[in-house]
């Protein structure tokens, strides 16, 4: 199972507590992971990616294994520790005041 940590606003919106765990793929890529997340929680559609273009929203970032995956193409395979559940995939609101 892949583990996803959502920011607090999105956890409230999706009415989840703690990490989300779900299957994605195969292959387990950025796109298949976000597809699976939005399929499980339709209320998150439009909050992480644009409804139409499916591009990452500008103030959302993806971190995992101490790497910034925000600018990787959607077909990028998830790092092995994320795909196996050893490490979480972090959806983060960009550091921009607030």
């Amino acid at each position: 199972m892949i583990r996803i940590e959502l920011p607090v606003h999105l956890r409230r919106l999706a009415q989840v507590e703690g990490e989300v765990q779900l299957q994605a793929g195969p292959p387990a890529t950025l796109r298949s992971l976000l597809d699976a997340l939005e399929a499980r929680y339709p209320v998150l559609r439009g909050t992480i990616r644009d409804h139409v273009t499916l591009r990452r929203r500008p103030f959302v970032r993806f971190f995992a294994c101490e790497q910034d995956l925000s600018h990787q193409p959607p077909e990028t395979p998830l790092p092995e520790p994320v795909a196996t559940g050893a490490e979480p995939f972090l959806v983060v609101g960009a550091l921009a005041g607030g």
């Binding site: 607090v8 919106l13 559609r45 439009g46 909050t47 409804h51 929203r57 103030f59 921009a96 607030g98």
Partner: protein, 371 residues
């Protein structure tokens, strides 16, 4: 006994304030959607417990929330706001062209007849409509044909902020956009035309009398006289008695004719309220005294209403959607400030009391009068 419910949108969530008809003691619930910007909430006139809220965030985009029990519980409904076709470009601040880009919903206006039909005013400016309670939204894209390429953003963005539904002509809708002006449809949103004759915007437009481009901050209507409109423009308070075909200035003796909200008394169609602000670069009250101004003559002759409002060192603003009236007698008047105060008057503005003093910056106030 009647009850009043105020729906307050702020920079960091929404609040619901309720009182009995005396309007002296208020119960406060919230914040709802804490941490999100709530530009606007509004209830259906035909089903008052049906509420809609615009919830947005610079990080996570636009959500629309709906309640069927007066705000106790909410569910997220549709939020896919997609411009029809290729929307083209509009003017940017420097006069260059820039593509239309959806940012947020500024204002929600439920239908006068159907609780599942709601109009939504967007930034970048567009009018959307749902007929299924918010599940799906379609753009009334004919609006953009009214010289959309010449519209430009005001300081707060290019938002469609006011939607007035004519209670006597179901197909007639007025909208106002900063900075584009007022537009009217008579066929339920298919065809639109600018109705800005008489507006003058020197120093803001190269042609002060231009057909579009005026920074209209707010328009208001009394339901008993839908052809009579009042406007707070960037500068100037204006009046039209022919459904926007022409406008004349009624700023009269106001200490400043800059401001954002304008409201009409619920029971006196010639009585209107504004909150003068010093200037476009100094968004605070003249002389640092917070005063609502009332005209009982449809403008030109204004009186200050300051009893209970701060009369020194006051540097708050009152935003365009942050003033409302109830329909009791005497009429209740309410407004919220960028400093987080919500003021109430249970006697048409003669005296004011703060319901709260320390909310986040208030973006919108709506009043519902409940049986």
């Amino acid at each position: 006994m009647s009850e009043v419910r105020l729906l307050v949108g702020t920079r960091k969530g929404a609040f619901v304030l309720t009182s009995d008809g005396k309007r002296q003691r208020w119960a406060i619930s919230g914040p709802l959607f804490a941490g999100w910007e709530i530009y606007h909430l509004k209830g259906s006139p035909v089903e008052p417990n049906r509420l809609y809220a615009s919830q947005s965030s610079g990080w996570f985009g636009q959500k629309i929330q709906r309640s069927s029990d007066g705000g106790s519980t909410w569910e997220a409904v549709g939020d896919k706001f997609v411009y029809e076709g290729n929307p083209g470009t509009h003017q940017w601040y420097d006069g260059t062209q820039r593509p239309w880009e959806f940012k947020r919903i500024w204002h929600l206006e439920p239908s006068l007849a159907d609780p599942d039909t709601v109009y939504a005013g967007a930034e970048d400016a567009a009018l959307f409509r749902t007929t299924d309670g918010g599940q799906t939204w379609e753009e009334l894209s004919g609006l953009r044909n009214a010289k959309g390429g010449l519209w430009a953003p005001g300081a707060g963005g290019m938002g469609l902020h006011t939607i007035l539904l004519d209670p006597t002509r179901p197909g007639r809708i007025f909208v106002a956009i900063s900075a584009a002006g007022v537009f009217r449809t008579d066929d339920s949103g298919a065809a639109w035309r600018p109705v800005n004759r008489g507006l003058k915007s020197p120093y803001q437009l190269p042609d002060p009398d231009a057909e579009v481009g005026h920074c209209v901050h707010r328009i208001a209507m009394h339901p008993s006289r839908p052809d009579v409109l009042f406007m707070q423009k960037h500068w100037d308070v204006m009046h039209s008695d022919n459904a926007g075909e022409s406008w004349n200035e009624v700023s009269g003796n106001l200490p400043s004719d800059f401001g954002f909200p304008i409201e009409v008394h619920a029971n006196e169609p010639d009585t209107i309220y504004v909150v003068p602000i010093k200037s476009d670069s100094e968004h605070f009250p003249p002389e640092a005294k917070l005063r609502v101004y009332r005209s009982r003559t449809g403008g030109n002759e204004w009186e200050p209403l300051a009893n209970g409002l701060p009369q020194s060192h006051c540097y708050v603003n009152v935003l365009r959607d942050a003033m409302a009236v109830d329909s009791l007698d005497p009429c209740g008047v309410y407004f919220g400030t960028t400093g987080g105060q919500v003021y109430a008057s249970a006697n048409a503005g003669e005296a004011w009391n703060p319901i709260v003093r320390d909310f986040p910056a208030v973006l919108s106030v709506e009043a519902q009068t409940l049986p």
